[in-house]
Symmetry: C2
Subunit: 143 residues, 2 copies
């Protein structure tokens, strides 16, 4: 068993990436994070962002949210919790709802799969999009 001379270095890029991700609770996409980090490290490459996010996911520092939507999103909170996704703008937020452990057991009884866990995502309309929608409706009424 030869341990390879491998160790995850806390480079400036990784540190700033993690700082920026921890700063927000909207679970940004890789591209959004790239833009955020670019303000502090203008020469950073998009590849570095993707690479380091993946490394941090693998080492359990952050979570990758792979549910609905086109793009993957990232989350600095690693404790299991649920999310809402806005069906209009795609934004994601946390839902501070007790994680349902028992549902995993129930599912395990119903299938021949070896169940590991579950992902729960709520869908809805975010406050901003609700407002925008209301404004639009009002506009149509007066027209």
């Amino acid at each position: 068993m030869n341990t390879p001379p491998s160790m995850v270095r806390l480079t400036t890029q990784r540190q700033i990436l993690l700082e920026e991700l921890s700063k927000v609770n909207t679970h940004p996409t890789a591209c959004e994070l790239y833009k955020m980090v670019q303000k502090r490290l203008p020469r950073i490459g998009l590849g570095t962002v993707y690479r380091n996010l993946e490394i941090m996911v693998d080492s359990g520092i952050i979570l990758k949210l792979e549910l609905g939507g086109e793009q993957k999103r990232f989350d600095a909170t690693t404790e299991p919790h649920y999310h809402v996704r806005c069906t209009v703008c795609g934004k994601m937020d946390d839902v501070t709802l007790q994680v349902q452990e028992e549902i995993t057991k129930k599912a395990a009884e119903k299938t021949s799969y070896k169940i590991i866990g579950h992902l729960l995502e709520f869908t809805g309309e975010c406050p901003d999009c609700q407002k925008a929608q209301a404004a639009k409706t009002k506009e149509a009424d007066t027209a």
Copy 2:
């Protein structure tokens, strides 16, 4: 209010696509469906598959599963139900678990989003991958 001269035709391609999708319960990807349909319609284009799947989703005939994983999957059963995804091979199956309506209400109390519904996906290892894993472990032991 001018209704456009639009109506969804039940073409051969659409019919066969729907038949093939209804035949299986593994929720195939567009690409998998393409291969399935190709056996009966060798000249069909991949674009036609994507286009018609989208049309059928829009008209509510089938469901698009946009949860975890790289690709979207399709489901001929439109009643709300849950799924398991194999974390090894990506295969998806149904979980015949009672849909938790009350969880949506609970979530609505915890967020400023206007909650519409929820998506629940279990993760685990499918029987085939469990077997393959077991065989691999055994091989390593004897080596």
